[in-house]
Amino acid sequence: MSTTSSTGPSTAPGELIDLDTGTLHREVFESEPLLRTELATVFTRSWLFLGHESQLRRPGDFITAVMGQDHVIVTRGRDERIRAFLNVCRHRGMRVCRADSGSTPRFTCSYHGWSYDGTGALVEVPNHDDGYEGRLPLDRWGLVPVTRVESYRGFVFGCWDAEAPTLHDYLDAYRGVLDWAVDGLDRPELVGPIKWRLQGNWKLAAEQFANDTYHPQTAHLSATSLLDVNMPSQGRELGSRYGHGWTIILPEDPNYTAFTFGRTPEDAAPGHQALIHGTVFPNFSMLADRVLRVWHPRSVDDMEIWSWVMVDSGWSVEQRRQAMRMATLTFSSTGIVETDDSENWSEIQAVAGGHVTGRTALNYQMGLGTTTTGDPAVPGFTGDVGHILNDVGARAFYRRWLELMEGPVPELPQTAPAPMPAPSQH
């Protein structure tokens, strides 16, 4: 096992990851300064999943979401447009909206009563006349808007970087995966989330979903043996330019139906390929087309999981319930599969912090040197492709991570204080 020769903690991202040798310095999961850098770069320059339009059907409907550690409100305005703002009052920084979801024309702060409309505009300040002499430039003190909010097939994403590619371009070939989640649904409806919190750096989950089809035979043996499922063998592991990684299963795989939550090749997507798992960089993951995830970085050591299931509003009560029961049974806070994932993530984190441990390289070498650019099995995809047992998805994830960690911090929205005009002379 190779180790670095440095004598002290290293926090330069470039020294922690070597994509040529496929090694990753463990500090990537353990360093508080690195998390602060991630929040300033990875989570500001990437498109982050906020929700689905089905959660915001009517004007005034809102949900709350988190972008990195920035809490936001996502709401549909009277003009039908979906916007997102920091869930933070501009006056004293109070959380403006304390409900998880609902419908309201106004977000009124419960501290001093500053009130914002569905466009984020500050529309009421108590005692504006006798406290501020009517001088506050209200138009300068609206809720801080998320720089860009765009949707693809109802999936709503936000991004703080005005220079980022469009969501369409950012998703790149992963658009086809999102298509699988809603194709065949007349009226897609995102149900959830359920939420839980665990010890484990957020990347442990994000990279696993981006990449790892190696672990089920060991980690999930208790569930897979019971369900009489064997490891998939006919599939591909993909890693794209913007760091998305995913694993597809091909229809000839004998375990196709087991890994697609009961879908058969006949009722699956055109071409019969299906998702086993995948991650839109950095932290929006999917499982078997219909289970959606965000891994929120609560701290360097803890993540909060939000999990949803995509259903069709038009399904019968029983069909709807059945879809959710399948997810609950397998991948959820109580899932017989996921329970063993969280065991791994939390125990990886539990042994973090040791001096020697932190300096020991970890192995991301599976399939190194065997990947191709594109693959006949995945027409149109121009990224890196490997056999289903291949760390190519994780290497793509960390390539992008490194690129952003070493890159610039975007210019943030106009958050500078607005001066108050001088009082009029009496």
């Binding site: 998880d100 959830g192 359920i194 959710m324 609950t328 049974l329 109580t334 969280s342 125990e347």
Partner: protein
């Protein structure tokens, strides 16, 4: 019996509305039998005797743990999820058996080595189910469980349970359970224990 807070919970009671009806308790023998059933069930679960626990379940058992969310008063009707919402558990006997079969394997890593769990069951309120004359009881109880796993991996699960118990050939059986944990975000890496 009231199960969760509702849109009405926080409001002053309107003059024309009646008070929440006081439950008509079952007789002392029945109360004791029901409590002992719940304590025995908790003991079996604490001791991971899951096969024996399955024996306490009715064929038609429904076992749910809805997710709960933060809502303003006016939206409290949707504070706890129903069967149309995504929850933490929504099981029948077949899936409960499957879960048990998993956890009984040596390769169920989350439970090998096993956690140590202590379940306290309190506030047991039992009433006859007025809608059925079949000797079934509606039982509300509070469960407060502590789980310690490995070195310092600790969780607390606190909530109330709305159960239906009915008679089987060998005594009471659990026919329905809905566990309402007090958490909206579960502060645990998994809730895959039975409460």
């Amino acid at each position: 019996m009231t199960t969760t807070i509702s849109t009405q919970s926080f409001r002053p009671r309107p003059p024309e509305a009646g008070a929440v009806e006081r439950p008509v308790p079952v007789n002392a023998d029945e109360q004791r039998e029901i409590e002992q059933f719940l304590y025995f069930e908790a003991q079996l679960l604490d001791e991971a005797r899951y096969s024996d626990w399955l024996d306490l379940l009715a064929e038609e058992v429904s076992y749910r743990m809805p997710s709960r969310s933060n809502r303003m008063h006016r939206d409290l009707a949707r504070e706890a999820g129903g069967t149309g919402d995504l929850g933490h558990y929504d099981e029948d006997l077949a899936t409960l058996r499957l879960r048990v079969a998993r956890v009984q394997q040596t390769v169920a890593w989350s439970d090998n080595p096993p956690p140590r769990v202590v379940r306290a069951v309190t506030n047991v309120q039992a009433t006859r189910r007025p809608e059925t004359g079949d000797g079934a009881f509606a039982v509300r109880s509070v469960v407060d469980a502590y789980r310690n796993r490995l070195a310092d991996d600790t969780d607390r699960f606190t909530g109330f349970r709305a159960d239906v118990l009915r008679r089987g050939p060998d005594g009471l059986l659990l026919a329905e359970r809905t566990v309402y944990l007090a958490d909206s975000v579960l502060l645990t890496k998994n809730a895959s224990l039975f409460l």
